[in-house]
């Protein structure tokens, strides 16, 4: 069993509890032991970055240090924002000019730690092939839009995962569940990020654009791997509709939920009911239809 | 630092005399670094006056023993400069040189010779400014180290260390 430190971050404790639940279930299904970081704290996110680089690194670094003390060398977080902070902490620790301040503050170095996103864990450690084999309830016939958001694979030299412009890991994972993942041109476009509260109209505009392109491509849902993207696209979909004078109705499940569904885990357990836009359309079993169509054609 | 306080070094504008009598030998390849030093001259980029240049065809010609000879016999610093890797006039001369000098540089301090007295670098014929920088920095470094006593000239002088090996 692979042992991975789990840094869930504040969102997964609040507005994204379903992401936490489904992540745990999927990891369990593939034999990955998630070791929750003891007494973890908030990474500071963008506010800390814009305040002081060391603050951000130290807040995030404390969690890495605890994980290291817990005997883990891989830290996984489902939140790309947290991931950015964790990687920033590592860079600070490796930077000779900042190392001392960092170590003094955090209490130890965090050399040799690997920080990855849930997406990277699922793609590299589990892999589409293993998922394909484990699928019990294929999502064939569903068109799911892969949306990565801005931070998962960027900047490339920090993320060190997938392609910064045209990532494919989420596409491959969606396809592994049997669903179709169209080539989505706005895969990495920003959804409005933290401006949900302060500049609601930004989210209206940017997430609106994403929803628009997704529906043009015939998407039934947008699959995400970021709690912030999910909030903007799902929780604020009504606000977006009001702003853009549109009537989008696209569910926005997490990739962990989608994979969980295909594994036959119950929607309730995966927290699908927690999504604001009803994901019921995903529950339609079209695998049979597909087979029938194929048989007729054959 | 000695009792006389910090050693003054000839500043880049060359106004003060090099009273220390510091001597640095520079082995410069004819095609790149010698040209780079010429370029620095043509551009009037001021440099300390301690360097004496020996023109060699290529850093590949550099036998590390020339450096050994210089430092053992009390030359204060040795600067070797050639074409940037891949730009060698002879295609690969500086590749040979790099290995030999790198090994030699690592070896020098074992014999008790300060490795900071030897530097090798790559400067192209067009990099006059870079040459000025290299010469200035290296000269400053040698001035900081002070004159090179070389190794003792006479035998039989008392030695204060036990070897610990025998």
């Amino acid at each position: 069993m692979k042992r991975v430190a789990y840094y869930k971050g504040c969102s997964l404790e609040g507005l994204a509890t379903e992401y936490d639940r489904s992540t745990r279930l999927v990891c369990e299904a593939f034999g990955i032991e998630l070791v929750e970081i003891h007494d973890w704290n908030c990474c500071g996110s963008s506010p800390a970055h814009s305040y002081d680089p060391l603050l951000s690194s130290a807040l995030a670094g404390r969690n890495l240090a605890i994980a290291a003390d817990q005997g883990c060398d891989v830290v996984m977080t489902p939140c790309p924002g947290c991931l950015k902070s964790l990687k920033g902490a590592q860079e600070t620790c490796e930077d000779p000019s900042k190392r001392k301040a960092f170590v003094d503050l955090v209490g130890r170095d965090v050399d040799g730690m690997k920080t990855i996103s849930l997406l990277q864990l699922l793609y590299e450690e589990v892999g589409p092939e293993a998922i394909k084999k484990a699928v019990k309830r294929p999502l064939s016939g569903h068109v799911l839009i892969p949306y990565y958001g801005c931070l998962l694979t960027r900047p490339a030299d920090r993320a060190k995962f997938d392609d910064p412009e045209n990532p494919i890991s989420l596409d491959r994972l969606i396809e592994a569940t049997g669903a179709t993942a169209p080539d989505f041109p706005f895969k990495t476009e920003c959804c409005g990020a933290t401006y949900g509260v302060t500049r609601n109209e930004f989210v209206g505009r940017l997430s609106g654009r994403i929803l628009d392109m997704a529906s043009q491509l015939g998407g039934e849902a947008i699959v995400v791997a970021c709690p912030l993207c999910q909030q903007n696209l799902d929780m604020r979909q009504d606000q977006i509709n009001k702003f853009a004078k549109r009537d989008f109705h696209l569910p926005v499940p997490y990739i962990s939920q989608v994979i969980g569904l295909s594994l036959g885990i119950s929607p309730k357990k995966l927290g699908l009911d927690k999504l604001c836009v009803s994901p019921d359309v995903l529950l339609e079993d079209r695998a049979g239809d597909e087979k029938r169509v194929q048989e007729q054609a054959g | 630092m000695t009792d006389e306080g910090p050693r003054s070094i000839a500043p880049a504008d060359g106004t003060a005399a090099d009273t220390q009598g510091i001597k640095i030998v520079g082995f410069l390849c004819n095609w790149c670094s010698y040209g780079g030093a010429d370029t620095a001259g043509v551009c009037r980029f001021k440099q300390p006056t301690d360097l004496r240049v020996v023109r060699i065809p290529c850093t590949g010609r550099m036998d590390p023993l020339f450096i050994a000879k210089s430092l053992i016999y009390g030359v204060d610093g040795v600067l070797v400069s050639g074409c940037h890797p891949r730009d060698c006039h002879y295609a690969v001369g500086n590749f040979y040189a790099r290995r030999r000098m790198e090994a030699f540089k690592a070896f020098l301090p074992f014999m008790g010779i300060d490795t900071r007295r030897f530097k090798y670098t790559w400067v192209s014929a067009s990099e006059g400014q870079q040459w000025q920088k290299v010469v200035t920095e290296f000269s400053e470094q040698i001035h900081e180290l002070g004159p090179n006593p070389g190794v003792r000239r006479q035998t039989g002088e008392n030695s204060k260390v036990s070897t610990g090996l025998r």
């Binding site: - | 090994a103 070896f107 301090p109 025998r166």
Partner: protein
């Protein structure tokens, strides 16, 4: 055990001798404890051959030193037999690699080695001028100086090189005599302890150390002459006027430069056999100088001399991707 091995050696040499020009090995010297090289051409001489911890000489030099053999033997020439320890075999590899020898030219009697005795060290415990007999019992050296019988642990009087030995068993050979030996060292760290010890001292102390050590050098060139890889012999630039690197002046700079020349000419080639140091009449640790270079070669370029006949010595080649400064 020694006895068995010696008998095996005698038997193997006897079998092979008709096909060979001669066999170079060790024989007992007149002073009962040291060994001396013997050149066996006749079956009657075979009984002189011995082996064991007294056989300190690296005999491979005899293959290339005057009167030098032809690297490529003439039609019909018989190969030469030679006895080698693990360290000696690396010299053979290096000589073959540098094409001073061909593999076919030699028939190699490989002898696993458990260390050789440094008589200088024994001399500090025993008056060597009165030695009646010296024998080895398991791991104890028994020296009888007519007054007392000294029992000295072998491990305490081995040659300096033996303590960091990673290759006690010959790397190339045609036949092996005896059981393989266990290496005393398996890592860079444990092979260069003496180098590290000196490196740990401040720069000035290192300079003082070498000044006082090299001060004793009398420029007899025994170290150079003993080195199997110092192939220049009488063409050596230490003595040449064209070019003239060194004067005859007796000063420490001249001694330093001489040892720099010796070391740099062996950089990336020295196998660490220790012959230079063994030959030094002034007890200067001259091998140590080359050991440092060997360590640099190993750490920086991943190269150890005398391990692979196909390899190119690192300073005779380059890699455009080498790192620098």
């Amino acid at each position: 055990m020694l006895e068995t091995d010696r008998n095996q050696l005698h038997k193997l040499v006897e079998e092979a001798l008709p096909e060979l020009d001669m066999v170079i090995g060790w024989g007992q010297s007149t002073d009962s404890f040291q060994t001396t090289p013997v050149f066996v051409r006749d079956a009657k001489q075979i009984s002189q051959l011995t082996l064991g911890p007294f056989c300190s000489q690296n005999l491979t030099g005899y293959l290339v030193k005057p009167p030098a053999l032809d690297a490529a033997p003439k039609e019909g020439a018989k190969p030469i037999g030679i006895c080698v320890k693990g360290c000696d075999s690396r010299s053979l590899v290096a000589l073959i690699q540098e094409k001073f020898l061909t593999r076919e030219r030699v028939r190699i009697f490989g002898i696993p080695c458990r260390g050789t005795v440094d008589w200088n060290k024994v001399g500090k415990l025993v008056d060597l001028s009165n030695v009646k007999s010296a024998t080895v019992e398991e791991d104890v050296l028994v020296v009888d100086d007519s007054q007392t019988t000294h029992r000295i642990k072998l491990e305490e009087v081995l040659a300096r090189k033996c303590y960091g030995c990673r290759y006690p068993n010959p790397l190339i050979q045609d036949v092996t005599i005896g059981e393989p030996a266990t290496p005393r060292s398996t890592s860079i760290e444990s092979s260069y302890r003496d180098v590290d010890r000196l490196d740990a001292k401040p720069l000035e102390e290192r300079l003082d150390f070498w000044q006082s050590e090299l001060d004793r050098c009398i420029r007899c060139y025994a170290c150079r002459n003993a080195c199997p890889l110092c192939v220049c012999q009488d063409k050596c630039i230490i003595e040449s006027r064209e070019p003239r690197w060194l004067t005859q002046r007796v000063g420490i700079p001249e001694k330093f430069l001489f040892h720099f020349i010796h070391a740099m000419h062996l950089a990336g080639r020295c196998t660490g056999c220790g012959e230079c140091e063994r030959a030094c009449p002034m007890d200067i640790p001259v091998t140590l100088i080359k050991e440092k270079l060997n360590k640099i070669m190993e750490e920086r370029l991943g190269y150890s001399a005398g391990l692979d006949v196909e390899a190119v010595p690192p300073l005779l080649t380059f890699n455009p991707g080498d790192t620098e400064i």
